[in-house]
Amino acid sequence: MSGRFFSARLFSLLSGLGYAAAVYCNYPLFRYYPLVGRFSLQDLKDPSLGPAMSWYGWIAVGALCAAVVTALVPKRLGDRIPATAFWIMAILIAVAAWHREREWFLPVA
């Protein structure tokens, strides 16, 4: 985990940015329908299937992007990422989360 073969800095940064982008754009890799225990690559929009969960799909987007890029980029380059980047990544996740969930805090019309 401390990154002998891959850059932990790059993996953390990209998985966070990938997750933030997926949440902001509402682009999950897949959706899970817990009522019927079914995964789907598309939004099935069928009320009989119950609520759709995008959370796992958003995480998968971030993890997949990070894994692919981190495997390709040399570790010495990834380890040059400054610590400031993690502040920015944390802020971007907060912005994306607020963008996605703000409706819960607004009065119902």
């Binding site: 966070g16 899970y32 993690f86 607020w98 969930e101």
Partner: protein, 152 residues
């Protein structure tokens, strides 16, 4: 079986809170003899907590992700129907915060295990404080929601 996993999730979260608070407060402490209780609480070698915090975070998060679908089916809709939309929103934000903590785990371990302790002090402080605050936020919000309507 879900109450068992939920309680285990809560117990592990308590252990995580203890470890991350020790480390989070210790890393901001200036070296000096520990006099009062608060000083003694903070006078621990923070590097020793890193592995435990990373493991506890990943295991607690995994358990939370496992019980999450049951929450969506049994709790979320009911709490929203009670008119407590802000509470549901807080829990939704907690889920995003928990992912932030998860993606920080590799770089957190990197700064504690690979980077010499004399370097990257500010980054280590930021990451450690972040882990502590995220763990506290997640525990408090999860506890509030569990008190409103627990899993059955």
């Amino acid at each position: 079986m879900m109450p068992f996993w939920t309680i285990l999730h809560g117990i592990l979260a308590m252990a995580l809170i203890g470890a991350s608070t020790h480390q989070g407060l210790a890393i901001w402490r200036r070296p000096r003899p520990a006099g009062v209780f608060v000083d003694r609480f903070r006078a621990v070698p923070p590097a020793r907590f890193a592995n435990a915090i990373a493991c506890l975070y990943v295991v607690t998060w995994t358990l939370g992700a496992f019980i999450y679908p049951t929450y969506v089916l049994d709790v979320k809709g009911a709490v929203a129907d009670y008119g407590m939309r802000n509470t549901v929103g807080l829990f939704q934000l907690k889920e995003h915060c928990s992912v932030l903590g998860l993606v920080l785990v590799p770089v957190y371990l990197h700064f504690w295990r690979t980077v010499p302790l004399t370097e990257g002090v500010q980054a280590r402080r930021f990451l450690t404080t972040c882990m502590m605050v995220l763990a506290w936020f997640s525990l408090v919000v999860g506890h509030i929601l569990n008190n409103l309507k627990g899993l059955q």
